[in-house]
């Protein structure tokens, strides 16, 4: 964008318009039962409250089936705000939804594609079964997977932001590898590995030889001393199940 023209050569330029892109989490709604939505949303936020606090989100109404398109949009926005999120925009709504959005000073964002809605088979009637699914913001889908082929030495720290991390060498004791998504170590993991660093509880850690000092997924961690001897030195995967770290041989 070119710089705005100055009215008067003596005045100093105070503004500049630039283009930038941001990756934002999208809250997809599959039904209009506000109470249920509220419940499910609370539960999800509880799992990683830091992630959701002050996080800008976009509400996506496109998955709503025909019968649930009558939705209390203002109510949904309230729910989100109460839980600490910052709804900044909406997409996939009809004229009525757009009207509500404007009234709430929220942006109306581009639809992904109208084909998307048509392709969805109409959901079976029972409103009681209408679910509100929270699309877990996939930090790992944001950027390309980071690949490291050299050994990661003691004292070095690697953070794969918004992506998975793959290491095809060993990770020394005293080294720290962090990823917002999954971590794969095709070598010996001796240092610290922290996956799902921004709260993605579906992240996993895979390694060829577990000798880690500490492993963590979305904040849940376990130190070497508490690791069972039966999984030491083996190819394993680590994942979260009900807030507990599970370590299983591959």
């Amino acid at each position: 964008m070119s710089a705005p023209q100055k009215e008067n050569p003596a005045e100093s330029l105070l503004i500049e318009l630039k283009s930038s892109s941001f990756t934002l989490p999208i809250l997809k709604l599959f039904g209009n039962d506000l109470a249920l939505i509220g419940e499910q949303l609370s539960r999800t936020v509880e799992q990683a409250p830091d992630f959701f606090r002050n996080t800008p989100i976009v509400i996506d109404l496109s998955p709503l089936a025909e019968e649930s398109r009558q939705i209390d949009f203002a109510g949904v926005v309230s729910l989100c705000r109460d839980l600490g999120m910052v709804p900044i925009g909406m997409r996939g709504g009809n004229a009525e939804h757009n009207h509500s959005a404007k009234a709430l000073a929220m942006a109306i964002l581009a639809d992904r594609s109208t084909k998307h809605r048509a392709a969805q088979p109409p959901k079976p009637a029972a409103p009681a079964e209408a679910e509100a699914k929270n699309d877990h913001p996939p930090p790992s889908a944001g950027n390309a997977t980071r690949l490291i082929t050299q050994p990661i030495r003691s004292g070095q720290r690697v953070h794969a932001e918004g992506s998975d991390l793959i290491v095809t060498a060993h990770v020394s004791a005293g080294a720290e590898i962090i990823a917002d998504g999954h971590i794969h170590v095709y070598g010996t993991l001796r240092g610290r590995a922290l996956a799902g660093a921004k709260g993605d509880t579906t992240s996993r850690i895979f390694c060829n030889d577990l000798q880690a000092e500490l492993i963590a997924i979305a904040g849940q961690y376990q130190v070497s001393e508490n690791m069972d001897d039966s999984i030491r030195g083996l190819p394993v995967q680590v994942y979260l199940e009900n807030h507990s770290l599970m370590i299983h041989p591959l």
Partner: protein, 268 residues
């Protein structure tokens, strides 16, 4: 254009100065004009191990600060005319060193010497980082015990990221593992890390294994680089190291216990 070798480790007391003196003497004896520089400002001991402590007039810091030119500070070894020593200062501290100052000195030396051996101090602070900044090759001296291996690993990380070559995206420093104070007997009974154990953790090319030897202490007391003691096993191991570094294919002689006839007959 001189080849700059840094002898470093991270951990203290593993044998950097002993190695620097031995390697420098070894290269010089093969006819390559070599200078060995002590970067341990304030705790200098390269001059002791080289036996020239009574001839030190000017040192590295004097040269950096322009108080003497490099020719005045260099001390020629009495035993080998191709070997020179640039001692560190004993009275100043490492704040006197600077990247630019060292760079200039190395530039000057480059014209006259084939090899510049930099004896690094222990640690990962200024003295150590300056010693390795301009290096082309790094001899990482490691003892076969856990803390030394961990510190060497840390140093390798620094070599890979904080050297001039790393910063200007040139070919990285060539790293060599020198396993020092190795005792095959203790490895056998599981008290000491083996060569394989260390290589597994560090993933480095093995330049040489120097056996634990009583002769090293005697030599440094006398101010003689160990490589000059032809009867010493450690000295011989350094001879092999120099040969290997210069490209010869030399088998490793000191990894396994030397068995006498009886030992071979009756095993164990």
């Amino acid at each position: 254009m001189a080849r700059t070798i840094v002898v470093t480790s991270g951990k203290g007391g593993v044998g950097k100065t002993t190695t620097s003196a031995a390697i420098a003497m070894g290269l010089a004896r093969k006819g390559h004009r070599t200078v060995v520089i002590d970067f341990d400002v304030g705790l200098r001991n390269l001059d002791l191990v080289m036996g020239c402590e009574r001839r030190v007039v000017y040192d590295l810091v004097n040269v950096i600060q322009g108080e003497a030119n490099i020719r005045q500070a260099l001390i020629r070894d009495k035993r080998c005319e191709e070997l020179y020593v640039l001692p560190a200062s004993q009275t100043r501290d490492k704040e006197a060193l600077s990247k630019e100052g060292i760079g200039e000195i190395l530039d000057q030396l480059s014209g006259d010497f084939e090899y510049v051996v930099c004896d690094s101090p222990a640690g990962i602070e200024k003295g150590a980082t300056l010693a390795m900044y301009y290096a082309d090759d790094a001899f990482v001296v490691t003892n076969p015990e856990v803390s030394s291996v961990r510190d060497s690993d840390r140093m390798l990380g620094i070599l890979a990221s904080k050297s001039r070559r790393a910063e200007s995206n040139e070919e990285p420093i060539k790293e060599y593992l020198l396993l020092n104070r190795y005792s095959p007997k203790r490895v056998k009974v599981g008290e000491m890390l083996s060569v394989e154990d260390v290589q597994e953790i560090l993933s480095l090319d093995l330049l040489g294994v120097i056996p634990e030897s009583k002769t090293v202490l005697n030599s440094s007391n006398a101010g003689i680089p160990i490589i000059l003691d032809e009867k010493s096993d450690a000295g011989q191991a350094y001879v092999d190291v120099v040969a290997r570094y210069l490209g010869e294919d030399v088998p490793h002689r000191f990894i396994n216990d030397k068995k006498g006839l009886l030992g071979r007959l009756f095993g164990g």
